[in-house]
């Protein structure tokens, strides 16, 4: 008898028929003798509808009230799923954030779960299935707090941790994590097992299967995850610690992000604190800087700094840089039609020649590399956007992922 946390995303509970289908999956796990806690998202589209309502009223809708507003979405799904299970003669109950309670810290719309009372639910699990709305909790002052978009994943992982669950299964509308985008690259293959950090590199780069901070939490507490489809019976992707994975391939997947822009500051004064002076104002303006590359300076006095941002932030970023009196540079250039291609793999570090293979593969296909950045398990290059899919396909083949 295992203790399982099952999480169902918005599309999995997007209609009443789908909620009834989810009830079947839950019933199967329950009938198999497992203790089951279910975490649900709002019905697909619901959260966006509520946000649209709030934006009609104000572009700066009060954050406390926004959390009261948005938390209603998961409440609805929880009650419907509990009702659907009871209809199937399974004892079940929805547990709202304040009924448990789930305690959070931090700010409205960006809180994090710090604790929850597990005794009542543990007792209830002896007889029935507990349904918990994801994405929310209460502050110590009794205010409703939400934990950011996609936060139901974080709820599921936090619950798996606090209840010491044997597994945490993330049901979604795709059947796992792929070696690259299956919608664009038909040869993409489902990954059976992946490490937390590979998953993080892939998901921040656009795999969009699971919320990154939830994967991080799972990594910290070593909670095994499984991403699988609500709509098929196929096996999903298991997410573990690196140690538990036997790497036969050096590269696990190829990810890409589009809509990027690249800015280069040429001839920046090379002295301590200059990078901080550049990026602090960008951070204050909530501009998300992705890759940062700084070369060793040739003349020991100045250096070039390149970084990438979302394309939509380009104008704002240039303005901030140009008005920034704390930095001295000769020139500023930008390219607003670039994309980032990354190969990800925990096996990379122990396989010689991966870097060389990637660069050679791109060169053979006449794809120019505009910038390079590496980490232990990831190698990213910036290229012209028009070459994106071609580059991904070639790398996918080169690293035996087809």
């Amino acid at each position: 008898m295992a203790k399982k946390v099952l999480k169902f995303g918005g599309t999995s509970v997007g209609t009443i028929e789908r909620i009834q289908h989810v009830a079947k999956i839950v019933k199967k796990e329950h009938d198999a003798g497992n203790k089951v806690i279910v975490v649900v998202s709002a019905m697909a589209g619901k959260t966006n509808e509520l946000i649209k309502f709030s934006k009609k009223i104000s572009n700066d809708f009060n954050k406390r009230e926004l959390d009261v507003l948005l938390s209603s979405g998961e409440q609805v799904t929880s009650a419907l799923l509990a009702g659907a299970l009871i209809e199937k003669n399974i004892k079940s109950k929805s547990w709202l954030n304040w009924q448990i309670p789930i305690l959070t810290e931090g700010e409205h719309s960006n809180a994090r779960i710090v604790n929850m009372n597990i005794s009542k639910i543990n007792k209830f699990l002896e007889e029935g299935v507990a349904i918990i709305p994801g994405f929310q909790g209460i502050s110590k002052n009794g205010e409703i707090m939400t934990i950011g978009r996609g936060g139901s994943d974080a709820t599921a992982v936090a619950i798996a941790k606090l209840f010491n669950a044997d597994s945490c299964e993330i049901y979604t509308d795709v059947d796992g994590v792929y070696s690259t985008d299956p919608n664009k690259i038909p040869l993409a293959k489902k990954i059976e097992k992946i490490s937390y950090d590979e998953m993080l590199e892939l998901s921040t780069l656009g795999a969009k299967v699971m919320q990154s901070s939830a994967v991080q939490t799972a990594m910290i507490y070593d909670i095994p995850l499984e991403v699988k489809s609500t709509f098929t019976n196929r096996k999903g992707t298991k997410i573990f610690n690196q140690q538990n994975i036997d790497y036969t391939k050096s590269v696990t997947g190829v990810a890409y992000s589009k809509d990027d822009a690249k800015i280069t500051l040429i001839g920046v004064e090379d002295k301590p604190g200059v990078a901080a002076n550049i990026f602090e104002p960008l951070n204050q303006a909530q501009i998300n800087v992705d890759m940062v590359i700084q070369n060793v300076s040739s003349d020991q006095k100045t250096t070039d700094i390149t970084f990438t941002i979302k394309r939509e932030d380009l104008l704002k970023t240039k303005k901030i840089l140009e008005n920034n009196k704390n930095i001295v540079y000769k020139n500023i250039t930008h390219n607003d039609k670039v994309s980032k291609i990354s190969i990800v793999g925990a096996g990379m570090v122990s396989t010689p020649g991966v870097t060389y293979k990637m660069f050679r593969g791109l060169a053979d296909n006449k794809i120019n590399i505009l910038a390079i950045s590496t980490s232990e398990i990831k190698l990213s290059v910036i290229i012209d956007e028009e070459n994106t899919l071609n580059a991904v396909k070639k790398l996918h083949t080169i690293f035996d992922l087809d």
Copy 2:
């Protein structure tokens, strides 16, 4: 500086634009120096949508979960209205049932408010407007409870009572209580002042302006009500104690209900307990019996009992009567195309001739009376349904209401 409870019904908050309009009304009351508590319903159609969801899952959807489900509707409106007020620079906050808390007793979907903690909100009223979702509370075990359809009126009256408010204003989509149905009878006139009991007789008969149990509570605790339109600036209808009303007319209004059916049991044994034996099984089957008329028996041994029910309950009712072994009668007849016409007026009791005037008016128009029932402030007759509007018009004129 007055303490006011303002309640806005579903159509009043049916769209974002309407919620913004409500915010204007609330702001005006707040700017005038009043302490304002606002009670809101769910956006029009929302509760029905959620009920439809639940019915798709089960015809007997779990009542606890139904309350969790439905209470989300008012939560959404509360957050949106609080946000709209904050956008207008008015300090405002939504207070959910468990945050206050509002304590209820009774069963799911039919609970009643018994108490609430007023200290936190009283303190908050010093600086801002409190928004409270209607229709809900929590049980002493911390379960969400709803208080029946239209229950937001009951919430408003309970809050007016507990906070000792100076007034309780029910904003809705009509601008008051009319002397008869203004949609059908163009000569219907708005009533400026009406007593609680007249209002009760009118609303149970189909005026549909306010929930009856809320009017009852207001009557018991002598809380002055005002029903007015959200969409016009016109004066509404004030609802007081009889003593505060100066009656110049014997009849205040003419109400009618359609879709009724009449059943007569002929030759019922005339002995103690016979009425209880007839109506107890109907009550158990949740059949709502409206008028009951029993004539003195002519032979001292048997009597005839006539009663009215909703037409949709006719077949079910006949079946129960025919299978009921505890009652003896000679024959059973029914008429499934009847309606009930009632004249209502607290001044009736002190005005001679009202009864005669009504019967004469109907007779002059060749409208046959099938049954009669009277109370201190109401006189109801059952007639053939086809004569309904004609009868209402004639009585409206006869009693100087045009």
